[in-house]
């Protein structure tokens, strides 16, 4: 079978016909595939407004087709910046709806309030153990009272993540899991995986007593996306506007 003949089965429905790709038959199957990927990546995909939750970072929203898709599990991965990005999402949602945060005891509400979150609309659910987190997430997803459930990653069985993903899909609630490094099962069920990496630290003023570590610059990379090509990245400043 010629190499180009296998390409149409991988094609996105909205993509242009791949007859043009047949012209590069001589370049081999891999090159055709890369070309097709590049074309798909070049074509902007915009998801319906009601199907996404904006992230408070316009550049990232553009990359994600409007925001994180509702009714899915999305992961925020990395050592630095994940909770800052998650707080932006929470702030966007608390303008109109409730958000539940599963707290393992490390939540610091004053920083959430500074982000612009309406704390009146945040349910802080204390859950220290993995089992308690899973049960709380289960109840919250089934109840559909919140538009977003935010939880730190915990060690759960593969079947539990699958069940939570199905519940999120059925209820139309976005479940965000923050993890330094997502486990295989979590990565598999996640519809969107974003990875945050520290690029540089922003220091305001001089080192020492007169200085302030105002924030940091992050590189956010889309590692996986259910509806579009992964691989895009943006740079984001996470710092008080006055100190940037």
């Amino acid at each position: 079978m010629p190499a180009a003949a296998a390409v149409p089965s991988l094609c996105h429905p909205d993509a242009e016909p791949v007859e043009a790709a047949a012209g590069v038959e001589s370049k081999g199957r891999r090159e055709s595939f890369e070309l097709l990927k590049a074309r798909l990546a070049a074509k902007p995909v915009t998801l319906p407004v009601e199907a996404v939750v904006p992230t408070a970072v316009p550049e990232l929203d553009a990359l994600l087709g409007g925001g994180l898709p509702v009714g899915t599990i999305s992961t925020l991965e990395g050592e630095t910046g994940c909770w800052s990005l998650a707080a932006g999402l929470v702030a966007t949602i608390t303008r109109r709806s409730l958000v539940a945060i599963l707290d393992d005891g490390s939540l610091y509400p004053p920083a959430l309030a500074e982000t612009g979150i309406s704390l009146e609309r945040v349910l802080v659910v204390p859950a220290r153990r993995a089992l308690a987190m899973a049960r709380a997430a289960d109840i919250l997803l089934r109840s559909r009272i919140c538009r977003l459930v935010l939880m730190p990653a915990v060690a759960l069985r593969d079947a539990v993540w699958e069940r939570l993903a199905k519940l999120a899909h059925r209820s139309g609630v976005l479940l965000i899991v923050v993890a330094a490094r997502a486990a295989a099962a979590l990565s598999a069920v996640a519809a969107v995986r974003l990875h945050c990496a520290l690029i540089r630290v922003i220091v305001h003023g001089r080192r020492g007593l007169w200085g302030t570590l105002a924030g940091f610059e992050l590189g956010i990379n889309v590692r996986k996306h259910k509806h579009m090509m992964a691989g895009g990245s943006v740079r984001v400043r996470v710092a008080h506007v006055a100190l940037r």
């Binding site: 970072v57 702030a91 109109r96 982000t115």
Partner: protein, 430 residues
């Protein structure tokens, strides 16, 4: 004639409620203004004012709180009589004379207005009563008309009797014993049906439920179920009771159930016209109860407050669904501090500031910021000099600490602090 019961020091609300319940024996019509102030309508009740005051005093003494009781033809006169002295009676027609020497504070005017009136030379009610009605009301607004009348002993305020607490409860006791949960739920459904019917008849909603379970071994178990949103909806109440009992275990078979509706509120539920984004409060209440049953602790909402220490800048309170709309700001991405369990860490200093933290080189460091509560009462403030980290703290038992933000070589962005001779990790920015 009205009686005024006034306390210089307002009693606790529960005690005050009990006292008002006891005062029902004096008069069935009592206006509860606030804890520490009530009026009793004595029209048509046998006995003269002096005897009625004595009876009221007898009841207030039983509760151990010092009350001043006065009688008068209207509320302001009765209040003035209580102010003048315990047992004072203001006869009809003498209201203005009784009020004349009394201060303006009797009228419950805002302190700022009283201060303005004082600057104008008006310190007593007689001064206020002498002012020309028209110019005074034009100068101080519509409320001033009422003040002027009250200062002259004319009180047009309505008497608003307090509603009597209605006890809504139902109980069931059987000859046999219950060991199956379905039987318990069946009994609960029966009790709830009776309770909800009573609530609907009274036009009330329950803000809480109390379930008392009597066991075969003569023991009892109590369950308090606060509701996020008061309701009279039978199915919602049943759902919440069921999740509350899901994790309960009993030492013996159940022989009786008693269910009580508490914190009754007026019926009807607030509805908004544009309700697309409104949450169903009953669904929220059921979810909260379910989470509480599963986790053992309640769902909370955070509040912030001013404080020196990071960990004291917020507190939690039980979550309540609020319908108030708030001004929401544009989201701004800022570093989020995550509070870790405080643990001691090894820190090496160079030139007075951390050079290595947890055996990792410090790339950036800012601080120290001295955090000391009650700093103003210690010698830490003397001379405005911040002591070096090596200076022992705790002089005059002040617990202070020096906080630093550090960036480590692996990119960790942490808040550490130095207290006494030890270093601790407080949290990381994520």
């Amino acid at each position: 004639m009205l009686l005024c019961v006034s306390a210089a020091n307002p009693p606790a609300p529960e005690l005050w409620e009990e006292m008002l319940d006891a005062l029902d024996a004096v008069s069935p019509l009592i206006e509860d203004v606030r804890p520490g102030l009530a009026f009793l309508d004595m029209h048509g009740i046998a006995g003269d004012a002096r005897a009625q005051i004595a009876q009221t005093q007898g009841i207030s003494i039983r509760f151990g709180s010092a009350m001043q009781i006065g009688a008068g033809p209207n509320k302001i006169a009765a209040q003035a009589a209580a102010y003048v002295g315990d047992g004072t009676i203001c006869e009809p027609g003498l209201e203005r004379a009784l009020l004349a020497p009394l201060p303006l504070t009797l009228l419950e005017i805002e302190p700022e207005t009283i201060e303005r009136l004082r600057l104008l030379g008006i310190e007593k009610l007689r001064d206020l009563a002498r002012l020309p009605y028209g110019p005074f009301t034009r100068r101080f607004g519509a409320a001033a008309a009422s003040w002027h009348e009250l200062a002259r002993g004319i009180d047009r305020r309505s008497f608003i009797p307090r509603a009597h607490a209605v006890a809504i409860e139902a109980s069931i006791f059987g000859e046999g014993r219950v060991t199956d949960e379905t039987q318990v739920f069946f009994a609960l459904r029966m009790l709830l049906a009776r309770i909800c019917t009573d609530l609907e008849r009274c036009g009330k909603r329950a803000g809480a439920l109390r379930l008392a379970v009597e066991l075969e071994d003569a023991g009892t178990c109590g369950f308090d179920l606060p509701l996020a949103t008061p309701t009279a909806h039978e199915r919602t109440l049943f759902e919440m009771l069921r999740v509350k009992l899901e994790n309960a275990t009993f030492t013996a078979a159940i022989v009786g159930l008693r269910l009580q509706a508490l914190q009754l509120e007026e019926g009807g539920e607030a509805q908004t016209l544009f309700c697309a984004d409104d949450l169903d409060p009953q669904r929220v209440a059921v979810t909260l109860a379910r989470l509480e049953a599963v986790l053992g602790g309640g769902v909370a909402r955070a509040k912030t407050r001013e404080a020196y220490l990071l960990e004291e800048r917020f507190f939690y309170e039980p979550f309540k669904l609020s319908r108030t709309t708030q001004q929401c700001h544009q989201p701004e991405l800022i570093p989020q501090l995550r509070l870790l369990e405080v643990r001691e860490i090894p820190v090496e200093l160079r030139a007075g500031e951390p050079a290595t933290v947890n055996r990792q080189t410090v790339r950036e460091c800012t601080g120290p910021w001295r955090i000391a509560e009650r700093w103003h009462s210690s010698n830490l403030a003397l001379g405005g000099v911040i002591p070096s980290p090596s200076t022992p703290l705790g002089v005059n038992s002040v617990e202070g600490r020096d906080e630093y933000d550090v960036v480590l070589e692996d990119g960790t962005f942490a808040r550490i602090y130095h207290q006494g001779s030890h270093w601790y990790l407080r949290g990381v920015y994520e």
